[in-house]
């Protein structure tokens, strides 16, 4: 029988120490983490961006990723959206008693690889094991910090009428991959999560174009929710062209079958960029030169016609609102 995570591993005693030194330090270790002090001693100065996120995804392994790499990508992407270079992160694991040790190793290894690829050091961590049933398998919290390298930093309230709205790639891949795996659904073609660390591409973008007004990753709630947040914060209208929004045919087909809208599904490796019109082409060029932005395109324009709203110009040339979703999307009866 394969080894399970026992309550002992979270006791703070020898079992905990073994877990930390053999697994966590083995995969995530660096000079700072290896010191195992109560807190990390870091060299930071000036303006920093800091973000925290908790990952409770079900299933924990999905096509295109797992909860370990996702916990890195989610947090460093949030830091990078502030025009910052993510430097350090922390991770807190809450593990259900009886969780398979092999799976834990797989997750921590994946987290280590993702952090290394992103050039981010995990400098502090915590592990708790809770009685069976107290959590669903495993939850991970990560916090990231990074140096903001542009002034002013991109922010949700900086969209201005006349700005171009760009998108780094296709919408809905992550959300549908998760839903499909969770429900055991098989789609006509494989649907993969787009989970990826965007920081290298984003840093390059803001270094070359510090004029960028807004950067956002359309995670939970998808493009529609994120656009509404920006329209509200900036008190502008975000006008999107339906035909320009990229959605993979397999995602579109899967959503159509389930009665879901890909524009409300989560993405974990895409970003929105709003910037003055005159820099739009250059931004697209930078994005397309990177593997993670090869499908980048312009999807709309910021206007002052319906402040606070997102208006979709449809394929037919008609107009409709793209509103925020009320609660989660639920598959329909017919």
């Amino acid at each position: 029988m394969s080894e399970k995570v026992l309550l002992d591993y979270g006791s703070g005693g020898r079992a905990s120490q073994r877990l930390v030194s053999e697994l966590f330090l083995g995969q995530l270790g660096n000079d700072e983490l290896n010191r195992l002090n109560d807190a990390a001693e870091l060299q930071v100065s000036g303006r920093i961006a800091m973000s925290t996120d908790s990952f409770t995804v079900d299933p924990i392994f999905f096509p295109g990723g797992d909860i370990g790499s996702l916990a890195v990508h989610g947090t460093i992407n949030d830091v990078a959206m502030m025009g910052a270079i993510p430097r350090y992160m922390t991770c807190g694991y809450i593990i259900e008693e009886g969780f398979a040790m092999d799976d834990l190793e797989r997750i921590v290894t994946s987290m280590g690889k993702a952090a290394k690829k992103a050039g981010v050091s995990v400098v502090s961590g915590d592990t708790k094991v809770v009685p069976k049933g107290a959590v669903d398998k495993i939850f991970i919290n990560t916090t990231g910090v990074g140096d903001i390298i542009v002034d002013p930093a991109p922010a949700g309230d900086r969209a201005r009428p006349g700005d171009a709205i760009l998108l780094s790639g296709t919408m809905g891949d992550h959300g549908l991959a998760i839903l499909g795996t969770r429900e055991g659904l098989e789609f006509e073609a494989a649907v993969q999560s787009d989970s990826a660390g965007l920081n290298h591409l984003l840093v390059k973008l803001v270094q070359e174009l510090p004029e960028v007004h807004v950067l956002r990753d359309p995670t939970r709630g998808g493009l529609a929710t994120t656009m509404n947040e920006i329209a509200g914060s900036s008190n502008v209208c975000c006008e999107l062209n339906e035909t320009d929004i990229p959605v993979r045919p397999e995602v579109s087909g899967g959503c159509s079958f389930l009665g879901l809208d890909p524009l409300y599904l989560a993405n974990e490796g895409k970003f929105l960029c709003i910037l003055p019109e005159e820099h739009a082409e250059k931004a697209l060029e930078i994005m397309r030169a990177d593997e993670l932005g090869r499908d980048a395109c312009r999807v709309g324009t910021v206007t002052d016609t319906n402040p606070g709203k997102v208006v979709m110009v449809t394929q037919l040339g008609g107009k409709r609102l793209l509103n925020m979703l009320e609660g989660e999307q639920l598959p329909r009866i017919c």
Partner: protein, 364 residues
């Protein structure tokens, strides 16, 4: 469905031509009702509503199964969810439908009720097999579209010898409701866009009374913009010719005769009965109840559930919206006290409800 085929029916040039024809040939107001909630959403999502000529008055009908699920039916399944030995199995869109005091299945689930959102009624059988000490009750809501699958699931449950699977039957039938609308003196409907999904099962024949008895046209229609526009153009032309017809413009999915096999299984398990429609009230013969031979799977019988009229919600004009007497934005509660976050009436409840569609999609 072939993606290229769908693209054809969304072709902007084709739609532009149909819109021009509609505008040119329409010399008087055309009040059309799309019966099905999926059509309601398609009309908004495609932006078609903002492009239709002013003379075309668009009304949304009682074809959203969630919208027309009566308060007392919602109360019944909320009460059932309270039973410790019951697992409620349901399609997702019933989760937010409010019953007494605004309570819904989501809230019941948070309070500890066993509620499982499933994608196919057959998943409920699996659930029953995995939980032999519980009774899995599937919420049988919807029209002729879903009823055959649920009937087939009951047949399968009997074959598998499952004793802990039941259905709470609240199905409703579309043609009967259309007859009731046309009999209502307050309605003014010139033609119907008939539901594609329901028609795959029942075919054209059950709608023919619309032309023969009421002199109105009705067209079985697909869900792409060109489908809808073509049906509107046809109805305008027939009116200009002084005639009324019932036809099928959705032959790529719907046979004129429907699906006899599906009807056979449907009516082997269910039979017509009177039904209460939320916002409208009692429509004789518009529901489906479980036949006596299948009583062992009838949750209404097992749990002694009674479905009764409840007073209409004060100020809510959903009944008039569902009948096409007013449009959602003419209701005094719309967007003020009635929103998708706190729906007062049925039309705001479902994502396919007409008030929810107006709220969600209409650019002011």
């Amino acid at each position: 469905m072939n993606i290229d085929l769908i693209k054809e029916f969304r072709d902007p040039e084709l739609c532009k031509g149909l819109l021009e024809t509609l505008d040119r040939e329409l010399d008087d107001e055309l009040r059309f009702m799309e019966v099905c909630g999926t059509h309601t959403v398609a009309i908004f999502q495609s932006g078609l509503r903002s492009l239709l000529p002013d003379k075309v008055v668009h009304l949304s009908g009682p074809g959203c199964p969630v919208c027309v699920t009566h308060e007392s039916e919602v109360n019944a399944f909320l009460d059932l969810a309270e039973h410790d030995d019951v697992i409620i199995a349901t399609f997702g869109d019933l989760m937010r439908v409010p019953g007494h005091g605004g309570r819904n299945l989501k809230a019941a689930q948070a309070d500890g009720a066993s509620v499982s959102v499933i994608y196919s009624p057959f998943d409920a059988l699996k659930l029953a097999a995995e939980n032999p000490d519980k009774t899995v009750v599937f919420l049988g809501v919807g029209f002729e579209t879903t009823a055959p699958t649920i009937a087939a699931t009951m047949v399968m449950a009997r074959k598998q010898g499952l004793k802990n699977f039941m259905v709470l039957p609240f199905h409703k039938t579309v043609p009967t409701a259309l007859g009731a609308l046309l009999d209502d003196a307050s309605t003014r409907i010139d033609g119907f866009i008939l539901p594609g999904h329901v028609s795959t099962v029942i075919g054209m024949e059950p709608y023919e009374f619309i032309a023969t008895d009421y002199d109105r046209s009705a067209v079985i229609t697909g869900f792409e913009p060109a489908d809808i526009l073509k049906s509107l153009v046809d109805m305008v032309r027939w009116r200009n010719e002084g005639t009324a017809k019932v036809t099928n413009n959705y032959r790529r999915a719907v046979a004129d005769t429907g699906n006899a096999k599906a009807r056979e299984v449907l009516y082997s398990v269910f039979e017509p009965c009177d039904a209460l429609w939320r916002g409208i009230g009692l429509i004789p013969g518009s529901g489906l109840k479980i036949r006596d031979e299948w009583t062992d799977m009838d949750a209404i019988v097992k749990y002694g559930i009674e479905i009764t009229e409840v007073p209409p919600l004060p100020g809510c004009r959903c009944g008039d919206v569902l009948k096409g007497v007013i449009t959602p934005d003419q209701c005094p509660l719309f967007k003020k006290v009635c929103t998708p976050a706190k729906p007062v009436g049925p039309c705001m409840v479902s994502t396919e409800g007409s008030c929810a569609a107006y709220y969600k999609y209409k650019v002011d």
